[in-house]
Amino acid sequence: MIAQAGNKGDSVRSDCHVQLELKDSGGIQLSIKSKVAKLFGRHIHKLCNDVLQHFGIKHAILKIEDKGALPFVMAARIEAAIHQLIITDNSYLLPVHDGNDSLTDSDIVRRSRLYLPGNNPKLMINAGIYGSDGVILDLEDSVAPDKKDEARLLVRNALRSINFYGTERMVRINQLPLGFEDLQMIIGHGVNLILIPKCETAEDIKSVDSKIAELLAHSNTEIHLMPIIESALGVQNAYEIAAAADKVVALAIGLEDYTADLGAQRTYEAKESFYARTAVVNAARAAGKQAIDSVFSDIENMDALQANVKESKSLGFVGMGCIHPRQIGFINDGFSPDDSEILKAKKIVEAFHIAIENGSGVVALGSKMIDPPVVKRAQKLIKLAISTGKLSKEWRAENV
């Protein structure tokens, strides 16, 4: 049997296609056609031999058509071909990039998260440079059913090797039970957050939570969960889903599947999903989690995107998905506090500090009394303004 993995064709870049045939004798025969052969031919030979040797393969014909794949990509492609031919628990792991074992806090800013198809390395390599708060390596809808295994290997290697420049590293797994196989492959390789698609019950979350705990064994690594509500039943059970595990940090809504489930058309005005969106925001807040909105799928229409973001924020969402890097700036801006909000919050927080310094229990702005929840909201907004770079950490000192 000849195993194949990866992609080929004129439009393919930063990827390679691998053909592997195991033999009984003859040693390793490499045939490498690479557009970077003159500069990296030696590196490519070495990587091929290393991977084969790692899996104890001594006789094989390995053919590679390379379009400038980085080492982590080529290694994933060869390993994917090997998986088709032998059963093994072994993994070929490249070193972890500095910083890719960092953890993220449960309540960090999650305004924007960039979706990346899990089997397309070209789009992953620069994913961290566009300024989104998170990147999502997607194993679900963007990966064809027969490519799931090679995508898992690519995503695992990407999590280890790509410098995402501090953005939160997320993976969207497949709907359960297929999603358990995804977890098996990627947990322990630097993922910060798992998106669980098409959640309908608290049980979905609990089973993912315990699977992750089992895979992590005794490691201190904390992996957050973000369930995605994409059906009428999911909306109905939103609170139980959000509250199902401590590890849940946010509740997201996916409107394409939700409107399909309703039998409604998805429109720009989005009246058809108004109930679901407010229900999800309410459930998330009731459980003390962030509420995250669906993606906006028209990548050309920035005016409509901005209107959508504005409405989303007004409903109580704190972020949304991005399907193209061009959307990130608009989404980040839209979910960041604006100047007048910051100014107002600064006055309130300042008044609060003055009240404390004076030993007074009453916060007042001019002649107006400020209620504690208003102070709390202002403090939250200031924190957001600082973490989105809109306000200096030392604003109080600088203010005087």
Partner: protein, 514 residues
């Protein structure tokens, strides 16, 4: 062999002529007179001023086409040019050998000439090569050594007599029978004929070829008929849709957009963009976006640019018509909007390599430009840059006006840090085309490096939010991602010489080992 002032080993002779090595920026000042063409007399030409002959074949034979001549053509029709191929078809038919082809640039459509390079009709090319011609030359198959010059360097070489043109063939979209010609009118209009100016002035014989012959006078006369020996009408000089794309596309690549935006921000933060400034952005997808970002910044600040240097396109024309740019000084138009504007708008000015770029003249306009945005295949840690070869050694691009533009006040190269797996920032460029002392800023998607010679820019960018890094840091980042590439294996044979703007040899290209 000898070593030039850039530390590059170059041969003593190229194509039998002694080589003057690069001596440093502004160091070589020739003590000689310009080339003087023969004096023609009115009495040798038709008294009615009608110089039309039956066909191109007759014009070439009347011009004395023979072995070993230098034949020049121009790239105003870009990849839609039909005339250069016709010229060498005729040479082949008459068994003429050993011609030196001296184009202002070549395009993939000229792959038609490969058999003539193989059979000796053409001995070698002195001009840019890309695609199949570049591959042919890189693999050492051309019988003599190619010579690459910038647009300004080509004018200099003709003016100084470094290259004596026997027959210049000037293809024009519109002409009259006296030889006045332009590229503003006619079927194959492409804007202007600046690249043929030197040839018209200095070549021994000049042939104008057109498919649109109008009664005298053909105005404006971008080429003056007083320099022209013969006029030929053919069915078609070029394929319009290949000459200019009807629409020039802005890049949708998020990486390039990011680099363009960072470049524009850099220019804003460092005060380069100010009222009355001038810029040159070029025609690539990234450059187009930079022009658009410049427009946004000017609009927001309520300022305008005194002039922009073309290559023009619809986006630059929009800025002109909106009043954000007062003049376009244009070297070539890249789309039909550019041609229309040049035809209609007196502030859209056509220029030539003489006014814009020639180094052996009393100054040129390049030095008047505040900021120029250019490309490169590689840059090294000393800011030296390469535009002609890829890192694997293949000669794939011409110099264009690139070297000449380095004399602008600030030179910025927006580049991806790596292409596929190939780092763009390297220890040493494969081929040296521009010395690092003239290159100021490298903008990549992962950081911006400023040449330490530009302390003023470093100071201005210091407190900005821009990701300023050293060029060594950028190189290390590229190598962390891609790995450190091996040196490609190159043969000993020298396949091309790279001229500096003053006619000295700054570097040579060696054949790619098979």
């Amino acid at each position: 062999m000898k070593v030039n002032a850039a530390g590059r080993t170059i041969p003593t002779y190229i194509n039998g002529e002694e080589v003057i090595g690069y001596k440093g920026v502004g160091k070589y000042i020739p003590q000689a007179n310009k080339m003087a063409p023969k004096i023609p007399s009115y009495s040798q030409f038709p008294l009615d001023g009608n110089k039309e002959v039956a066909d191109l074949e007759m014009a070439l034979l009347n011009s004395g086409l023979k072995d070993g001549m230098t034949i020049s053509t121009h790239h105003h029709f870009r990849n839609g040019d039909l005339v250069a191929n016709m010229v060498f078809d005729i040479a082949k038919k008459h068994g003429v050998k050993n011609l030196r082809w001296f184009p202002s640039a070549s395009f993939p459509c000229h792959a038609h000439l490969l058999p003539y390079l193989e059979d000796g009709t053409i001995s070698h090319i002195e001009g840019s090569m890309n695609g199949p011609l570049g591959k042919f030359c890189s693999e050492g198959k051309m019988s003599k050594t190619a010579v690459l010059r910038s647009h300004g360097g080509r004018y200099q070489a003709v003016q100084d007599g470094d290259v004596e043109i026997d027959i210049a063939i000037i293809a024009a979209s519109c002409a009259d029978d006296f030889g006045n010609a332009n590229a503003l009118n006619g079927e194959a209009n492409s804007g202007l004929l600046g690249f043929a100016l030197a040839d018209s002035q200095y070549a021994d014989k000049v042939i104008v070829v057109t498919d649109t012959l109008v009664p005298f006078p053909c105005v404006p006369w971008q080429i003056q008929g007083n320099y022209v020996d013969y006029v030929v009408k053919v069915d078609k000089v070029g394929i319009p849709e290949k000459i200019i794309s009807g629409t020039t596309k802005i890049t949708k690549s998020p990486d390039r957009l990011l680099i363009a935006e960072m470049t524009a921000k850099f220019c804003e933060e460092t005060g380069i963009i100010q009222d009355g400034f001038s810029f040159q952005a070029g025609a690539g997808g990234t450059s187009l976006s930079i022009g658009i970002y410049f427009g946004e910044i000017m609009r927001r600040k309520g300022i305008k640019a005194r002039f922009a240097r073309g290559g023009s396109n619809q986006y630059l024309v929009n800025l002109l018509e909106e009043g954000l740019v007062e003049y376009i000084l244009d070297g070539q138009t890249f789309d039909l909007e550019g041609v229309r504007s040049m035809r209609e708008n007196p502030n859209h000015v056509w220029t030539s390599p003489f006014t814009s770029y020639n180094y052996h003249s009393k100054g040129n306009f390049a030095s008047k430009v505040d900021v120029v945005i250019l490309g490169a295949t590689e840059v090294d840690v000393n800011f030296n840059a390469n535009v002609v070869t890829h890192s694997d050694g293949y000669l794939m691009h011409g110099i264009g006006g690139w070297q000449n533009c380095l004399f602008s006040k600030t030179v910025i190269l927006p580049l991806p840090l790596f292409r596929d797996r190939i780092p763009v920032i390297v220890d040493e460029v494969t081929t040296l085309c521009g010395p690092g002392e003239l290159i100021d800023v490298i903008v990549t998607e992962r950081g911006i490096a400023i040449n330490p010679l530009r302390q003023d820019l470093i100071e201005k960018a210091k407190d900005s939010a821009l990701p300023i890094m050293t060029i060594e840091e950028l190189k290390e980042e590229a190598e962390r991602i891609c790995g450190k590439p091996d040196q490609p294996k190159l043969g000993d044979k020298i396949i091309a010489a790279i001229k500096w703007v003053d006619g000295t040899v700054i570097d040579v290209v060696r054949e790619v080992a098979q």
